[in-house]
């Protein structure tokens, strides 16, 4: 997977080269994150191809949320770097990404104003913005709550709003950190459909979940994190069939692995 692609300038076989040199949408090279002397993530090498659905699995505290933050550029890595289409990622690239946090952060404003704010930041104005706000409200089933303060929404409603906000911005790449953890079954099914719909329209997805069923439904690629390291990564079908690592096997069986305190 890490086969370095050399570019030969002026090579006459341009077609062949073009096919080979298209860099992955995003790649992590030797990513590490140390906080207060403690290594929370280390040696993360990843390649995220465009238009793929990647699911990140791993036990609590493995570093999944931290990884998403690093990839999204919210935290500067202690070592290594994140590449966007082969170039070091800059803040400008963040604009074509969106993230739904594990614990949604909503402004102290109405549901509608939360959507409006995000869209305004992303440069949508006037009628287009109003259209997208309405669309997002409907998508999340929150139309009847448009004017309610976002902070008093129920847990599931907040999560739906956060997802709707991220999708409304029309990102090229979408990070989802346990987006359906607090959703009822129907809402979960609906959000999964929306996610698939976004994917159909070309959005690259990276999603954390603890729900094995969901992972099986959605994953094309799989990353399994354990203790801040990539324990396993690859095509989902292959890994579901035959997990190579003991870690993933244990997780799939719901067995406690390393962090069992007893």
């Amino acid at each position: 997977m890490h086969d370095p692609t050399r570019i030969v300038p002026g090579d006459p076989g341009a077609n062949v080269i073009e096919a080979r040199i298209t860099p992955p949408l995003m790649a992590a090279r030797g990513l590490g994150c140390v906080v207060g002397g403690q290594p929370l993530l280390s040696g993360i090498d990843l390649t995220l191809q465009a238009r793929r659905r990647t699911v990140v699995l791993g036990p609590n505290g493995a570093g999944k949320s931290l990884l998403l933050r690093l990839l999204h550029g919210l935290i500067a890595p202690s070592e290594g770097q994140v590449l966007w289409q082969g170039q070091p990622m800059t803040q400008a690239h963040q604009q074509s990404q969106a993230m739904v946090f594990q614990r949604p952060v909503l402004l102290r404003r109405s549901v509608q104003a939360n959507l409006r704010f995000a869209l305004k930041v992303r440069g949508f104005t006037g009628r287009e913005r109003a259209r997208r706000v309405d669309e997002a409200l409907e998508m999340a089933g929150l139309t009847h709550l448009a004017h309610r303060p976002a902070r008093v929404l129920s847990g599931g409603e907040q999560q739906r709003l956060a997802i709707a906000r991220a999708l409304a911005c029309g990102p090229q790449m979408l990070f989802l950190d346990e987006p359906t953890a607090n959703l009822d079954p129907a809402a979960t099914a609906r959000i999964e459909r929306l996610i698939m719909g976004a994917h159909d329209q070309g959005v690259t997805l990276v999603m954390v979940t603890h729900d094995q069923g969901q992972a099986r439904r959605l994953a094309q690629d799989l990353i399994f994190l354990q203790d801040g390291r990539v324990a396993e990564a690859g095509r989902a079908d292959a890994l579901w069939q035959a997990p190579r690592s003991e870690a993933l096997r244990a997780w799939l069986e719901g067995r406690l692995f390393v962090t069992d305190p007893r």
Binding site: R69, H72, G73, L74, Q91, Q94, Q95, Q97, A98, M99, F101, V105, L107, R108, R109, S110, A113, F117, A118, K120, V121, R122, H147, R148, P149, C169
Partner: protein, 235 residues
């Protein structure tokens, strides 16, 4: 000498007996203070928001300075403004000394650090919650400051009221740059100081109570507006 209670009783009689002068003085007090607080907000709130929301080299030093300047002595501010505006000072040609403008300048200098330092703290606390979401959305610097100030507006009201309290009660600086000139730059606090130095303590106290009454009215208005705003906030 009489008991405190007697004094207070008579004090109101004294105030009541004042002629139109009182409303003139009250009006000037309000004009100077409210203008100064408004300017201090225009400068101090964005400054506080910037210090609270962004990491940049020298940030700690800047925070330290705003905190220290909360202890700016009014007399010193008065002197500096005096020296600047004095006929022989660098801005003497403007002829601002002993005018309400000079008093507004002095009070603005006093109140701005207070509003900056306190709003910095409020914004910083809110930013701890919002920062990642804002970064993810790619919120620009100005938008970010604006959103933080807006979402913290109810907490910031207390900060602004603290600034107002400092300004409305302030005497040292306005005395020096205003000169306490009757009908021109006499405000409540300088009038109180004058009556005190005349030994007319009852009147001084009575004026002090009037001043507190003014502060009360301003606070009630602010609280009422706030109450209405809270109700309308999510419309």
């Amino acid at each position: 000498m009489d008991s405190l209670f007697d004094i207070l009783m008579r004090a109101f009689g004294l105030v009541a007996a004042w002629d139109g002068t009182l409303s003139e003085i009250v009006g000037l007090s309000l004009q100077v203070t409210l203008t100064a607080v408004a300017i201090a907000c225009v400068i101090g709130l964005p400054l506080g928001a910037a210090l609270g929301a962004f990491r940049f080299p020298g940030r700690r030093g800047a925070i330290l300075i705003t905190n220290v300047l909360m202890g700016l002595p009014p007399v010193v501010v008065g002197l500096v403004v005096y020296l600047m505006l004095s006929a022989s000072g660098p801005m003497g040609v403007l002829g601002l000394l002993y005018t309400p403008t000079a008093m507004i300048i002095a009070q603005t200098l006093l109140v701005t650090p207070i509003i900056a330092a306190l709003s910095r703290q409020v914004v910083e606390d809110l930013n701890a919650e919002y920062a990642e979401q804002f970064a993810s959305l790619g919120v620009g610097r100005l938008q970010r400051m604006g959103a933080l100030l807006w979402d913290a507006r109810f907490s910031l009201l207390t900060v602004i009221l603290a600034g107002f309290g400092r300004a409305v009660a302030e005497v040292g600086a306005v005395m020096i740059v205003g000169g306490n000139i009757n009908h021109v730059t006499r405000v409540m606090t300088t009038a109180i100081a004058l009556e005190t130095s005349k030994g007319d303590l009852e009147l001084a106290l009575a004026l002090g109570l009037v001043l507190l009454g003014i502060a009360l009215v301003v606070n009630v208005i602010v609280m009422t507006v706030r109450g209405t705003a809270v109700r309308a906030a999510y419309a």
